[in-house]
Symmetry: C2
Subunit: 204 residues, 2 copies
């Protein structure tokens, strides 16, 4: 298809498509002449992924490029691709002391990459708790670890296997876009639990 049709099918303006081509987020089309190129369904898919990553998932152009590099890495296996894509979508956190995070993770018995952005995020989150003088009750912490393990196990079990693009789309968008869903579900579930504890007969 021509660029005009690619634009019509995806709803992305031609000028924006040209920008993605210049930024090498979108692979070049097949050249038909010096000024004409043709695009195919792979371009449609890639364009939709770029839009989702830049729009709802709010990644930067640089992060999107790293996610796409993970898809296109010629020799990487699934684990390496996923790790690369996930790290690209993670926000770096500068932390002095990984000790508390590593203690939590040792208790959970998980395998993890101690140099990953995810572990640094956990350390930063624990440091903010400590700064606020807030201690998570022991049973709550156990519930968090158990919930995270069940969620992650289910998510990884459902990674699509038909292509690297599908796998990374699922895991990067799933990680980033599901986060606000999880947080909102917890807050509404707290409403339910508070009603049941403080208004068990449903008088309100």
């Amino acid at each position: 298809m021509r660029m005009s049709e690619l634009s019509a099918r995806t709803g992305v303006a031609v000028a924006t498509i040209k920008y993605y081509l210049r930024e090498e987020l979108l692979p070049a089309g097949r050249l038909m002449s010096a000024t004409q190129a043709r695009y195919d369904d792979a371009h449609v898919e890639r364009l939709r992924l770029i839009r989702a990553l830049l729009g709802p998932a709010r990644l930067s152009i640089a992060q999107v490029r790293r996610v796409l590099d993970a898809i296109d890495a010629p020799e990487a296996d699934t684990l390496a691709r996923l790790a690369q894509a996930q790290h690209a979508a993670s926000v770096g956190a500068a932390v002095d002391d990984l000790g508390p995070a590593e203690a939590v993770l040792a208790r959970a018995g998980w395998r993890f990459d101690p140099e990953s952005a995810e572990v640094a995020q956990l350390a930063a989150a624990l440091a903010a708790l400590a700064e606020a003088g807030y201690e998570i009750p022991e049973e709550n912490f156990t519930a968090y670890l158990d919930a995270a393990a069940v969620i992650a196990e289910t998510e990884i079990a459902h990674i699509p296997t038909e292509s690297a693009e599908a796998a990374i789309r699922y895991s990067v968008l799933g990680t980033v876009l599901v986060e606000p869903v999880l947080l909102a579900l917890r807050r509404v579930a707290q409403q339910d639990a508070a009603y049941r504890r403080f208004d068990p007969d449903g008088s309100r």
Copy 2:
């Protein structure tokens, strides 16, 4: 104690304490003369709560005021106080259509306030998924609902009961500060699950 001692005990500068007094976040001390007031342990506690809410929890001055109003509301019962404090700490989201969120919550069987900021947050999060064309696999969604229910149940069961201040400190700081912990735990648990699925013999 004098303001200088209140400052020394909490590490908050005198100018900052005066600002909180002017903003009526901190109740006035007991006046000893026209220019001298005395403060007590309740001021120390309140000051620590203000610092935690403004610092690690990143609430605005206006949000902190609403949280403190919930603590000080003379006639409110625990449920009303908690709801007021939680709403104060929630980020409002403008959404057109609560339908998808209400469908999810009906499925979960939870009691909830359809006009609350939490339900609007859920609707906004689901709208972002739809915009990205991302569908959560059914079993994953079930895992999210179950995890949220278990977490909320455990958290509400551990609300301290000795004072409204303690209850609200626990629930507001817990809600806000635990969110990044939960998200980081999920991301690290995904590492563990990915290792187990794609590298079961631990060769890396």
